[in-house]
């Protein structure tokens, strides 16, 4: 049995997976408590195994069963099998990894906020949402600065983040999509997954350790992204037909006005796709969109190129 485990600082995420055929059975998250006595605070492989065993009730786990992934080469005395960068290197997705905080994260904060932030980091406490949001927003902006070219060739984005409240998750989703829309200059659609369990990284880490052909896996697995987003800068009106995938019969015609300030959600039934026509002052765009989810989000923010 191999358990892919992501560890960063005192935070741990891991998956239970079925090997053949590959399937993620469950995801788990755990945060080691802060230990005042520094000499006892190190997270060892033994402590890690004890924590995983008690959470999963898996007995007889040993260190060879763990596939350790982290953002650093070593966590205390635990050797790492893969660093995040090694895992995502040749995956045809873009990964925006939030939740990893470093010196570069501090540039968005005031002196008082830095003091608060760093004290919480050293104590392993949860950072106030307001400050965390500033840091994550800055990281999101940097992500788009660094990856604007790659967005022309990649059509799936994974946003990884750590433990967060539902309210925080929604805020991050709004900020990410809004920032994304600001960086898009021609109509295009993306599958976006917001991953709070590091599930995607752990999954690909596991597949890599098994020397699986990732492209072949992705072609055969038909993975469905959490959110399908159509970025259409300058679009004002949307006309769309909902069509049943199997019979190809039209189920419904609808029209909506697109609000440029918000995410415009089209709800669609399962097992259907949409034929869509968007018009604006200087644009006309038509496409067919398939999604495994019940909705498509349209963003018209941004400048049309």
């Amino acid at each position: 049995m191999i358990l892919p485990v992501y560890i960063s600082g005192r935070r741990v995420h891991f998956l239970l997976v079925q090997d053949e055929p590959f399937e993620v059975l469950s995801t788990f998250g755990y945060k080691f408590p802060f230990v005042e006595d520094y000499s006892n605070s190190f997270i060892t492989k033994k402590k890690l195994i004890q924590a995983i065993s008690s959470i999963t009730n898996l007995k007889k786990l040993n260190s060879d069963d763990l596939l350790i992934i982290s953002d650093t080469k070593q966590v205390n005395n635990i050797d790492i099998n893969f660093q995040i960068d090694e895992v995502i290197l040749d995956i045809p997705y873009l990964f925006c990894v939030l939740g990893l905080y470093s010196q570069s994260s501090l540039s968005a904060l005031s002196k008082e906020e830095i003091n608060h932030f760093m004290t919480k980091i050293y104590l392993g406490d949860d950072i106030d949402d307001e400050i965390r949001l500033k840091v994550d927003t800055s990281k999101i902006k940097n992500f788009f600065k660094e990856n604007s070219n790659k967005l022309k060739t990649v059509h799936k984005v994974v946003v990884c983040n750590d433990f967060a409240s539902e309210k925080y998750k929604k805020k991050i989703k709004d900020i990410f999509l809004s920032e994304f829309a600001s960086n898009v200059v021609t109509p295009c659609s993306f599958g976006i997954t917001f991953d709070y369990d590091y599930k995607e990284i752990l999954k690909f880490g596991f597949l890599k350790s098994k020397r699986t052909d990732i492209k072949k896996y992705l072609n055969s697995s038909h993975e469905i992204p959490e959110t399908k987003v159509l970025f259409a800068p300058g679009a004002i009106d949307a006309e769309f037909s909902i069509i049943d995938i199997k019979s190809k019969t039209k189920l419904e015609d609808r029209e909506i006005k697109i609000n440029p300030d918000f995410a415009n959600t089209l709800e669609i039934p399962q097992e259907s796709y949409v034929k869509l026509a968007l018009t604006g002052n200087k644009m006309h765009f038509a496409c067919e969109l398939y999604t495994g989810q019940n909705e498509i989000i349209i963003y018209s923010k941004g400048d049309l190129s």
Partner: protein
Amino acid sequence: MIREGQIAFNSSVFSLFDIPFGYLSVVKEGDKVKAGEQLIVLDKKSETVFIEGFGEIIVKKDDIVKPGDVLCKHKGILKSENMKSGVNGTVLSINDNVIEIKIYNAETQLLDSQTQSTFNSIVKKVEQGKILLSFSAIQLNLLISKGVSSIGNFSYNSQQELSKMAKPKGKDIDMFSESIIVTSHSTIDLYPKLSALGVNGLIVNSVDYEIYDKASVLEVPLGVISGFGDLLEDETLVKWFKSIEGQKVWFDATFNRLVVPSDKCPLWIKTKI
């Protein structure tokens, strides 16, 4: 506010004493040693040189010599001749004209304090050039620290007292020399100023992260008790600091702790490690 478990009585604080090359342990496992008691002595069996002297032998048995020191001299009619030592070492014996010198490196010329136990301790193990000592102590866990661990005399000072000391004079320098200073808050100039005064360590309740991060710490360790910013001191801790003024303490920057040797656990400290 003290964090849960931040201060505790530790019945077995371990410290490692390195036996330098050329020295031998004079203690064994299970020995109880008092503060100031000798732990190591020069190893008489280590390498020696025999030098054939002439004329008048200047050095005496047990003299410590370094390169260039005159060992013997001969006054001739036309000129005088000296024979100088080419090594660091101790004169072990003088037989006729033969001077036996036990060689050791300059680094092994230790001060008494470097060969003695700092605290009342129990010898737990002696092996591979190291002596493992154990003693009971009150341990204050720091949020973070950097620099090299050190031992010094504890001194608590308010921030006002330290900031008044713009131009330290002789008395201040004596007061701070070889001290572990604890204070409420650090300004940007405090750490370099105290380092220049010869303190052995600085521990602050709080400090701006930027100041802590940018402090270039080489030898003198710097530690933080509560966190970053300007945080209130805990009154109980301040009371305790005042009660241990002048006591010899260990600022263990490796394990982020201030170790204050104590035989008993004070009543106000509940948590035990």
